[in-house]
């Protein structure tokens, strides 16, 4: 009684401070979650034992310009343009040992989650709760049906190798960070549109460039997570990517792309126009050079994969194969499942994945986050120590011997989280400075009697097949800039149409030494749980035997007529060219 009087008095005496900002969305999530968990016990033999809401709330914006003009759709009207508020409901029925998310073996399984739903963008608690109510009911109903399928499947198939439970017991987390800032406060869209037009205009004067664009994608979102174990999280995220892309066609019909992008995880980290202009100029030069370069012939021999390219190389051939859920999926190739405690890469190499790292030097890292999409805190994971595999990347789907999440359950909105990479960091205890690494390459070339070695400078991306059966469990990495390096002192020669191919274990064994020049590749990685931002950091690698193949070439002829003249050229022939 006394205490409450005191509080009242204090409250009256205190200056009229603004009430703490209420988060209506969070309120609605919490309330409807509690009501649902209590009111939806599930069926008798299929109890609802876990329920979570994940909401991605904020704004996205993107624009693209080609040859000086915006393309696609532009100028979405109104201040609410680009608003998103997407809900993912996760309902688990059954028990932690066997629930509705258990993988059904055999047949086709395309269930990657509920697909996500749009919530009202207004902070209207009632309307939000109605939307949550309907989504929850649908999801719980579907989960109950799925559990029946799971039970039948388990009953008719042979016992599984990995009997780990379907859901881990991990401590629920609570942390409320401030909400993300609206894009309008941090980004002048019209100014960016004008910038993109200007940045894409130089392509106008390059008749050999068939297609090109300069594009900007940006999102500022608040990520909410609440669950029936008591988790309550709010985390702001910002991503921006400014990219330049072009395609040329060589005389033999082969189409060649060049893509370059810069990422930012805060608005002030975005490049200036002048800085990015340099990248555009470089892209133009590279495209012209690629068009004129000779096509590569299939080759096996020594090569240097330079830092950023090496990061992608590791991401594809190693990173995807140590994602936890793949270790217990009967359809997966399980390259490393039984190799914990064994050496899988040369002993001078160690690998970690550390999503708690915000930046590398001055460069922000794409793979940074506070909490994963299963509400678990990001953790640094020592995957490989001195060549020996220690653990896997884990979400809340346990693997034999690994009962808990290590904060890598990731997904894009609308898809169910699985274990994914964050910031993959490759470290080496056997490093050489650039000059010596090059000399080592040439030594290797001479020793093996090869006419040349390869220097792989830039990679646009790659893909890998981790699954058993059907297509080989190989990888393909697509370099953009590759040079032949000759032992006789001739200058390096740019070649085009190179694809790197191989199988993972063999490729690791062939790493001889690394550079001392670790650099960051920031990008977005796509897999069954969608696109997630990732980084890969690696030094250059000297590989004794790298296999490359010639990329398939198109059959299309180039345009029959010369490019049309520019309006600016006709009006002001002296200046010519761009506006």
């Amino acid at each position: 009684m006394l205490a409450s009087v005191l509080v009242l008095l204090l409250a009256q005496k205190a200056p009229a401070a603004a009430p703490p900002p209420t988060d209506v969305l969070l309120e609605a999530l919490t309330r409807e979650l509690a009501r649902s968990k209590k009111g939806l016990p599930g069926e008798k033999d299929a109890p609802l034992y876990y329920l979570s809401y994940r909401v991605t709330d904020g704004e996205t914006w993107g624009a693209s310009a080609s040859f000086g003009a915006l393309e696609g759709q532009s100028g979405r009207p109104g201040r609410l343009a680009g608003r998103v508020r997407l809900l993912d409901v996760m309902a688990r029925v059954g028990t932690r040992d066997l629930d509705n998310t258990h993988k059904v073996r055999g047949g086709f399984d395309f269930d990657f989650g509920g697909g996500g739903r749009s919530l009202p963008i207004d902070d209207d608690q009632g309307a939000l709760e109605v939307a949550l109510w309907k989504a929850t009911d649908d999801t719980v109903r579907a989960a109950t049906k799925d559990l029946l399928k799971v039970r039948a499947n388990v009953a008719v198939k042979v016992a599984e190798e990995d009997k780990a439970p379907d859901f881990s017991s991990d401590k629920p987390q609570t942390r409320l960070e401030p909400k993300a800032k609206p894009l309008s406060e941090v980004l002048d869209r019209e100014a960016w549109e004008a910038r993109l037009r200007r940045l894409s205009a130089p392509f106008k004067n390059k008749p050999n460039i068939l297609r090109s664009s300069v594009s900007m994608q940006v999102s500022s979102t608040t990520h909410y997570f609440v669950d029936s174990d008591g988790a309550k999280l709010r985390e702001p995220r910002f991503f921006a990517r400014l990219g330049v892309w072009g395609t040329v066609r060589a005389d033999d019909g082969m189409e060649l792309d060049f893509y370059d992008a810069i990422e930012a995880t805060s608005p002030d980290a975005l490049p200036t126009e002048a800085d990015f202009e340099k990248r555009v100029t470089r892209a133009l030069e590279r495209l012209e050079a690629l068009r004129a370069a000779p096509a590569i012939e299939p080759y096996v021999g020594p090569a240097i994969i330079t830092h950023r390219a090496a990061g992608v190389f590791f991401h594809e051939i190693f990173g995807h194969r140590i994602e936890g859920h793949r270790q217990k999926d009967a359809d997966e190739g399980k390259t490393f499942t039984k190799k914990v405690g064994q050496q899988i890469v040369p002993d001078f190499i160690s690998v970690t994945d550390d999503p708690t790292k915000r930046s590398w030097g001055e460069l922000p890292l794409n793979g940074f986050y506070l909490f994963d999409e299963e509400g678990q805190p990001a953790q640094k994971v020592n995957l490989v120590e001195k060549g020996v595999l220690k653990t896997f990347l884990l979400g809340r789907s346990p693997v034999k011997g690994f009962a808990n999440s290590n904060g890598h359950g990731r997904a894009q909105p609308g898809l169910r989280p699985v274990a994914r990479q964050g910031n993959l960091i490759i470290e080496s205890a056997k490093q050489l400075p650039a000059e010596q690494l090059r000399a080592a390459l040439l030594d290797e070339v001479k020793k093996r009697g090869k006419p040349y070695g390869l220097l792989i400078e830039e990679i646009s991306g790659g893909f890998t097949n981790t699954r058993a059966g059907g297509a080989p469990q190989a990888f393909k990495v697509i370099p953009q800039i590759v040079y032949r390096v000759y032992p006789d002192g001739r200058p390096d020669e740019l070649v085009r149409g190179v694809d790197l191919v191989g199988t993972p274990i063999a490729s690791f064994e062939r790493i001889l030494v690394t550079g001392d020049d670790a650099k960051v590749f920031n990008g977005f990685c796509g897999a069954e749980s969608g696109w997630v931002p990732v980084s890969a950091i690696a030094p250059s690698l000297l590989i004794s035997d790298l296999e490359v193949e010639r990329k398939g070439k198109g059959h299309e002829k180039g345009p029959l007529l010369a490019p049309p003249p520019l309006a600016g050229a006709a009006a002001a022939p002296v200046k010519g060219g761009a506006k």
């Binding site: 003009a69 109510w133 006709a570």
Partner: protein, 555 residues
Amino acid sequence: MSALLSLVLAAAPAASGDPVIDVMEAELKRAMTLTMPSATDPKVMADKPYYARAYVTVEDELGVSANLGALSAPGGGRSLSIDTAVRIGSETFDNTNFSGGGFDFSFGRGRFPAEEDVDAIRRALWLSFDGNYKAAVEAIARKRAFLQANQVKERINDWSSVKPEVLVLPREEPPKLDADAWAARVKAASAACRASTKAHACTVAFRSRFMCQRFVASDGAKHRFCETKLELKVNAQGQAADGMPVGAEWSQVARTEAELPTEAALLERVKETWQLMEKKLAAPAAADDYVGPVLFTGQAAPVFFLATLSGPLSFPRENLGQRQQGRLTERLGKHVSVSRLSATDDPTQKTWTSPKGEVFPLFGHYPVDDDGVLPQPISLVKEGVLQTFYMSRIPTKAFAKTNGHARGSQASTGTLFVTTSQPEPLAELKKRLVQLAKEEDSDFGLLVSVLPSNLGDRPNGSTVNLPNLPLLVHRVYADGREELVRGYAFKPTSQRVLKDIVGLGDDLSLVNTEQFGQNVSAVAPSVLVKLLELNRARDDFGKPPALPRPVLSAK
């Protein structure tokens, strides 16, 4: 010297006053010179185009909607589409009207500028013509090979000449709409649904679509016209105790904001919509299949005729090697319906005045068709006899020339007008409905007053598909009682349905909707059909939510 001359020419003032049309014409002129080695003999050059055309269409959209008083993410923006077509060979035989042409994955299409930048537009046109020309060279070679290998009884010309029309209407700007004000309006209107305790969702949506089409063709035809379509839509959704999802809908289209309902009137429409949805929730579900007479009134009557009459009279030209049996278009000069029915199509009409004197816009109106031809009013059916069908510049066995109904790739509906020589009052039709039902051993006849306006695919033989799930159906009993019922679904029927018409009303209703992706209108009287088949309601719906809907406070 010649270079200097061309520079001077290029710098000369624009001919049309529209820089976009100027670059379209310039690029079209270049496209007519396209040539390459032929697909069959690389030593021989393929034909140059004998006809080419280009469209550049600007679209400006805005969409805002709110559900139960809360806004959803808005959509819209400005975009441009660029389309070209190239014909090689001659009007008697060219690269088109053949399905074996293979798929065309050529580049340059799909990514268009989003603004009227003449350099970007011209570049896109250049690549589009280039890709289409190469595809045409391949297609004509495949078509020749097909003709060598297959017997084709009679060949029809592939294209026809007409007097080229030039119709450059003023370049309008998109309507100046206040997106925030519309957001506030739909939000307030949908908040009126909060009075419903049963609505799972109740949306009010506003959509504005502005488009400006520019067209140039190598025969000198040229046009430009702009069009605005505004739409307000109310949709209430719930779930019946037996699990059936139940909805009610209201919508109105207009050319200007002033033609749309006032805020008070909109609130009234919202209330009527959710109340109707709640009535449907309480209504019985159709327990048995129904075979018997059906009376279509209100919006359902014109939709019925779009599905049964103008749909089957569209897309008259079949591709080489793709013949359909028993199409309505083959019955020229013969009775296709009862004699009391006549039908015309007149896309030149901009508005329609109802018998009560109200004026409504007709979105089936177009100033010039997609072949660049002026639209013509046509008589489709006169006293039951088929007079003509929709024609574009693509000839058919029966007609060599267009009647100005090219819409998209082929000919189809503009504004359909159905009339009758023997109008009957609705009360009389209802009486006959019950009598006919008795003959089919049914205590009631079905009265359908709202049909979904999503009309089906291109005509397929003699099958006619009515929009599957009627939205508002009543059972009419002998004592005049009308009972709301839910869950019936039409089975496919045949074009004979027009001959099964036994009565037409003295009323007229209008629908503005879309058919084959085009804006169309139809005006028709109520129509009584002797025999149609409907399936009973499905009985495998998911259960309604286990928890009661969260309570919504009034706003």
